[in-house]
Amino acid sequence: MFCGYKPDILWSPHHADRYVICDTELSLYRIGPAGSSESKAGALAISEETAATLLAINSDTPYMKCVAWYPKHEPECLLAVGQANGRVVLTSLGQSHNSKCKELVGKEFVPKHARQCNTLAWNPVDSNWLAAGLDKHRADFSVLIWDISSKFSPEAVPTEKLRLSGDTDSGLVVTKPLYELGQNDACLSLCWLPRDHQKLLLAGMHRNLAIFDLRNTSQKTFVNTKAIQGVTVDPHFQDRVASFFEGQVAIWDLRKFEKPVFTLTEQPKPLIKVAWCPTRMGLLATLTRDSNIIRLYDMQHTPMPFGDEGEPTIIERGVQPCSESIISSLAWHPSAQNRMVVVSPNRVMNDFTVFERISLAWSSTTSLMWACGRHLYECAEDAGPGAAAVEKDIATKMRERAQSRYGHDTVQVWRNHMLAGGDDPQLRSICLTGSCFHKYTENMEQKQQVNKQSLIYSGIKNIAKTSSGTTETRRCWSGSDRQTDVPRYHSEERSLALQLCGWISQGPDIDVEPFLKTLEQEGEWERAAAVALFNLDIRRAIQILNKGASSEKGDLNLNVVAMALSGYTDEKNSLWREMCSSLRLQLKKPYLCIMFAFLTSEPGTYDGVLYEGRVAVRDRVAFACMFLNDAQLPRYVDKLTNEMKEAGNLEGILLTGLTKDGVDLMESYVDRTGDVQTASFCMLKGSSGEVLKDPRVQCWIENYRNLLDAWRFWHKRAEFDIHRSKLDPSSKPLAQVFVSCNFCGKSISYSCSAMPHQGRGFSQYGVSGSPTKSKVTSCPGCRKPLPRCALCLMNMGTPVSSCPGMERCYEKADLTRDKKLAQFNNWFTWCHNCRHGGHAGHMLSWFRDHSECPVSACTCKCMQLDTTGNLVPSDSV
């Protein structure tokens, strides 16, 4: 297989550290770690870590054409050398002459007609058998199988006629082969088939590959092809064979031997070596002449047998083991993974390991896996201690939230925040907003104020714009007779906005006291105090702070703040004012900070309050609605809205509502967080069709549904779809599958849909309605009976009977869930392959224990054909 002068490499089949380089002579090398004590002065460094030591040289066999290493352990290091004149000589390297080897070394196998020996192969099982592939001779066979244990040559050949034999010790010359194959043809390459050691694959000159069975040599399977060089069997896939011709490699499946399953991209130069990697599935290395690049073809994911359809998935890449020198041959290491030694024409060797491709996969449950060689690495979110500091991935969060039914509480919308874990201020805000919107809408619906309903969902920004008829009042500090010159504005829209902010409850009452009570209960002392103060009730504010300080886990500093607050004076130049306005900035609590900002600022200029980013948007907006005039308010709201939109802050939904602005805001939120779940649920509530039709919204919804599918949360997905179809009727899918009658071809869905409504109990089983009623077991169109269930043999449409003992259970525990299941059990189901089927419930229970179709004599493995049939949803109903 190699030209006599270009070196080739052979690894020892049993010593992972030894190989032979053959060119004009055979040289045995041992490979070892570089620089170790073992390595002697003569060691050649062949990589950064390894060095090769020359152990022995054998130059007894001139005109070498091919070499094959004896495959068995004993005798080790026995080599068969095929010569240019067709003789095969057994030789050995670096052996102390032990008895077994001695007998064999020097033995020659001589063909009747001399011609070049192209290839040699030891039988992997009957290791006495050595197949030699020779060039063509008009009167001789091209494949000779020798038995190396043959003791003598049966036909005594006259010594004088052995013209070409170097030594005439005829005891060592064998001239009678065990088998002769392939007349009138040359054999360019051959290999034994590992699946059946009596079979031999030959590649002949006449452009064919042939498989011979030694038990019956007159029979053979063969195929015409150009690719007749270097046949080699995939060690991991014994039906897969590679062969090549010039620049092209053909891959064969011996079970479908008519044509190559595929050919690899043609190389511009002729190939000289093609070798399967023995340590890695489906990896083929090819080398072309005068090249320093080894091309690797990864067929790991190529299905075998490969069908006619589609392109095979082969990953091709090139590796360059040594930068300058061209490579004359390569040999994979027999056991070390992906390792090979390459040799250049001037015998420079290089130990080289092909770096494995890294393949990476995300699971839908946020774990990341990657594989490199035989190693599989998993990167999962660490749930151990210290992990709390690291924020969980949004996919994990969404999955957990989906599992806790986040978004599904449509009655008490704010509770969804608790379902989501209750630790995300953004979600808390959006849920509160949603809740407010929802509550008000409900009320509006009751009052049939439809126009206002749309106003609600259009957000405070639009409400503020429409504000008209504002009245201005100046109020005293309540509980104090001191006059203030703080103007406060009122209008219908402003109080609506305040309601939406949650400061005042619905109705004409504008008292904030209930809100303050709620805040007190939740322990939000500072916020409550601030709200009280903004309602000009400084006494209440002080009272709240006191309460806060004295409460459990209360902050005693609140008392200090209360004291400071009580010293309030409206004197413009007082020390109090001066100190407050400078020291307030050092306060850590934002609500305390804005309280003093409010007290120390001039009327109409409340920037210290309005632009305190740490304060909830709803409070700032409520504040603005109270204290900004009609000119300032829309400007402020606009500014804040844009800020929120840019930041993707969900608090801003209060301002934007579920309008196009809201979608913009949500877009930047999704861009920032990837939380399509919240986006989907939130936008579904936007009743205006325009918002729902927005492609972004549709995209979020579809992505969320896909996510649910990927997590196998099919029940959640179904719930979501139901929820969605309620809010967005246009999303309701049309019926896509109909069951049609075998006879009239009409849809029988009438009877299907009718069935559950008839409310048939299981007790009625067997008396399927009175004859006057339209039978559900027959087609409503033509009245012909529906097919029978393969299991209960009843016509379809008949309710399923469960086990008789179970009936009572059903009666007693009439759970809706069981009812639903029972309905599903009545469904029609059938295999698309064999077309047998029956009641879904029956089929499900049948395939729990069986793999084949219930119809006798049908061997269809219906359930296995259903790729999703064996998947189990990972959520519960």
Binding site: A84, G86, A114, R115, R138
Partner: protein, 331 residues
């Protein structure tokens, strides 16, 4: 059995003995410098009359036309019989004998002129390109016929228009029995690793081009007891040599391959007058009786005469057989 129509388009030429010096350059290039030419089929046979050169069109370009070069006008296509791996169990005979009944005789009946070229590796049957359809039609019953094109074997079906009984168009010619000459020298058929061709270059050049120089063999050649016959072929990278034992002695022994039994062959030269290329049935005349007696043979056609090589031990029976044949057919 498969019949392959090989992907070579061949010319049959002859170089006169005196004109050889004009052609030494192209010939040496074609023999020794394989990388310099795209010639894939080259055969050079020296006979006492001339040098017959059979080569493909690529090689033919190298030969300059001159008065010393005779060219047969047709394109010849080589056919090759592949036994399809089924060992011919009945007969041990090989070469032209094996195909005598299946190929040679039917073609002779259809008046297709053939030009035989046996080598160490195989036997080529050269037919004229224009006869191809007759050949296909004649042989398709017996063989699966493939035409090799660009490395692929393409199955060939005869065109239906030829299905009729249209013959080759030539008139049936009287079968003439040609005189035969059986020289005394022994021949051997050998091969060689093409890589070692340079090692025997000087010997080969000496034998091929300087055989007429006065030497030990010159006087022997005169009396036709022995005839000068040397054939060198280089086809698809395979070398085949036919030479007499005398020439063989000049080559280093360890480089030439031959059979381990060291078999030797005797020659039967057919034709008293140059045979020309149109006469049919000449090969059949010889191969038929050899096939009947199951005797192996090589057969090498040249520009002037045909040469059959038969095993040394069979020459007596072959001689008798041929003499009997001459008696049977009245002149």
């Amino acid at each position: 059995m498969d019949l392959h129509i090989l992907d070579h388009r061949l010319r049959v030429t002859s170089i006169s003995k005196t004109g050889l010096e004009h052609y030494t350059h192209p010939l040496i290039k074609l023999i020794f410098l394989r990388n310099r030419t795209r010639c894939k089929f080259f055969s050079l046979t020296e006979t006492p009359e001339n040098y017959t050169v059979v080569l493909d069109e690529e090689g033919f370009k190298e030969l300059q036309p001159s008065e010393h070069l005779l060219v047969e006008g047709s394109i010849w296509l080589p056919l090759n019989v592949v036994s399809n791996g089924n060992a011919s169990s009945s007969s041990q005979a090989v070469g032209v004998t094996k195909i005598a009944k299946s190929v040679i005789a039917p073609l002779a009946e259809q008046h297709v002129s053939v030009f035989m070229l046996s080598t160490y590796q195989t036997d080529f049957i050269l037919v004229r390109e224009k006869d191809l359809s007759v050949v296909v039609e004649t042989l398709e019953e017996e063989f699966n016929i493939f035409r090799e094109e660009g490395g692929e074997s393409v199955p060939v079906q005869s065109q239906d228009t030829w299905k009729g009984l249209q013959r080759n168009g030539r008139e049936v010619m009287q079968v003439t029995v040609h005189p035969v000459l059986i020289p005394e020298n022994q021949f051997c058929v050998m091969s060689l690793d093409p890589d070692t061709l340079p090692a025997i270059a000087t010997t080969l050049i000496d034998v091929l081009f300087y055989s007429n120089s006065p030497g030990e063999g010159a006087s022997v050649n005169q009396d036709l007891e022995c005839i000068k016959f040397f054939s060198f072929t280089l086809i698809d990278g395979y070398v085949s040599l036919v030479m007499d034992t005398e020439a063989q002695r000049q080559f280093p022994a360890d480089l030439l391959f031959t059979s381990s039994s060291g078999e030797l062959w005797r020659m039967v030269r057919i034709g008293g007058q140059p045979l020309g290329f149109d006469e049919c049935g000449i090969v059949a005349q010889i191969s038929q009786p050899l096939a009947d007696s199951d005797i192996s043979a090589y057969y090498i056609s040249t520009f002037s005469f045909d040469h059959a090589l038969v095993p040394e031990e069979d020459i007596v029976s072959v001689t008798e057989m041929l003499q009997a044949q001459r008696k049977d057919v009245p002149h």
